[in-house]
């Protein structure tokens, strides 16, 4: 089953838009209450996936505080990072098993397509760049797992990296397997956070 959803325009930033894409799928865009930044979300029976923008400044600050050099933190910060929340929301009385592999997800931007940069991809880069072990450990656990298997009630939060520039717009093929059946949604018009520098009280 494949669903295409278009949420290209997030012009009215403070209004949550909820669209029923089909009788059993919904797509939401709005402002995440905790992060106070835009999110794109799909909610299908048993599954909820939310991508919340992260400002490059938040990302560089987070990783510098965990031992990365200024240069290495900048590499991550300039790579279009989202906080991703992937949940198995199936009821315990009708449980589903949800599995995903980020290597099946495809980013469509500026007429080209590429995959997400996963923990394993980054680990090679950190080895080359000789990042400190403690920083690499924090980085590994901060990212959304490359593969995961969720039972009812399970979920993860983690950063996902789209290898685009701040402010870029892209479409995303999100793929998962629910009780063995492949499901996918094309999330359209997702936008990387701009590289703005916040002052205290801006969010």
């Amino acid at each position: 089953m494949r669903i295409v959803i278009d949420g290209t325009r997030l012009s009215v930033m403070c209004i949550t838009l909820s669209i029923a894409a089909s009788a059993n799928a919904a797509f939401n865009i709005g402002i995440d209450e905790e992060a106070r930044l835009p999110y794109w979300e799909i909610a299908e029976p048993g599954v909820s996936i939310r991508l919340v923008q992260r400002l490059p400044d938040q990302t560089r600050g987070f990783f510098q505080a965990r031992g990365f050099s200024v240069e290495d933190s900048e590499v991550i910060a300039q790579s279009c990072v989202f906080q991703t929340v992937f949940k198995n929301i199936s009821s315990p009385s009708a449980p589903s098993t949800i599995e995903y592999n980020l290597r099946e997800w495809v980013v469509h931007a500026a007429g080209a397509r590429h995959g997400l940069k996963t923990r394993e991809d980054w680990e090679k880069e950190w080895t080359t760049r000789q990042a400190p072990p403690s920083a690499r450990l924090a980085f590994e656990w901060s990212l959304l797992p490359t593969r995961q298997r969720y039972r009812s009630g399970d979920y993860n939060w983690g950063m996902s990296v789209f290898s685009l520039k701040p402010g870029d717009e892209f479409d995303l093929d999100i793929v998962w397997h629910q009780d063995g059946k492949k499901r996918s949604v094309l999330l359209k018009g997702v936008r990387c956070a701009p590289d703005i520098h916040l002052k205290p009280g801006d969010l």
Binding site: A43, P92, S134, Y150, R151, G153, D154
Partner: protein
């Protein structure tokens, strides 16, 4: 058409209901492992400078949680873990929350905001979490009194929920 509309509305309502439960942490599941395994032993220094050895808790049910201070769902479940810890005092159930990759000062500062009285062993170099099948934080394992890992939860739970605590009690006395 009217029936179709009502059916669609009902489906959306049901979906929203389940999602709301998940967001408030009300899906209180502990997944039984297909293949229970012997819990790898460890000895780690706690944030309180005491040494915590898993095998010292043999004979008790252990709720073994892996977490980090920067992880939002890990923070979310800490207060409920503390309330659970208070509820199960005097029972043979213990909570060990192993911090991954952070030092004692960081965890000490965290406990200023999230005061807890159960042990917080420090897996500073990640050597203990590497022995367990953890893919994302937080992950919690249930270890039975014989030292076998039997259940798992990925993501936070409301640990003081009596339904969940009663499940643990039943496991303790099968």
């Amino acid at each position: 058409m009217n029936i179709l509309f009502r059916t669609a509305a009902l489906l959306l309502w049901l979906t929203a209901g389940v999602a709301a439960d998940a967001e408030t942490g009300k899906i209180q599941t502990l997944t039984p492992l297909d293949k229970p395994f012997i819990a790898p032993d460890f000895a780690l220094m706690g944030e309180d400078s005491k040494t915590y050895r898993l095998s010292d808790y043999r004979g008790k049910m252990v709720v073994l949680n892996f977490w980090a201070t920067w992880c939002p769902p890990c923070r979310d479940e800490m207060p409920s873990m503390e309330r659970a810890h208070q509820k199960i005092k005097g029972e043979d159930i213990v909570i060990l929350a192993v911090n991954v990759g952070e030092d004692g000062d960081t965890v000490f500062a965290f406990t200023g905001q999230y005061p807890v009285s159960f042990p917080l062993p420090l897996d500073f170099d990640g050597s203990v979490i590497a022995k367990y099948p953890v893919i994302g934080l937080p992950t919690t394992f249930i270890i039975n009194p014989q030292g076998n890992v039997t259940h798992r939860a990925i993501g936070s739970r409301e640990w003081d929920d009596d339904r969940l605590l009663n499940t643990l009690r039943k496991m303790l006395k099968p």
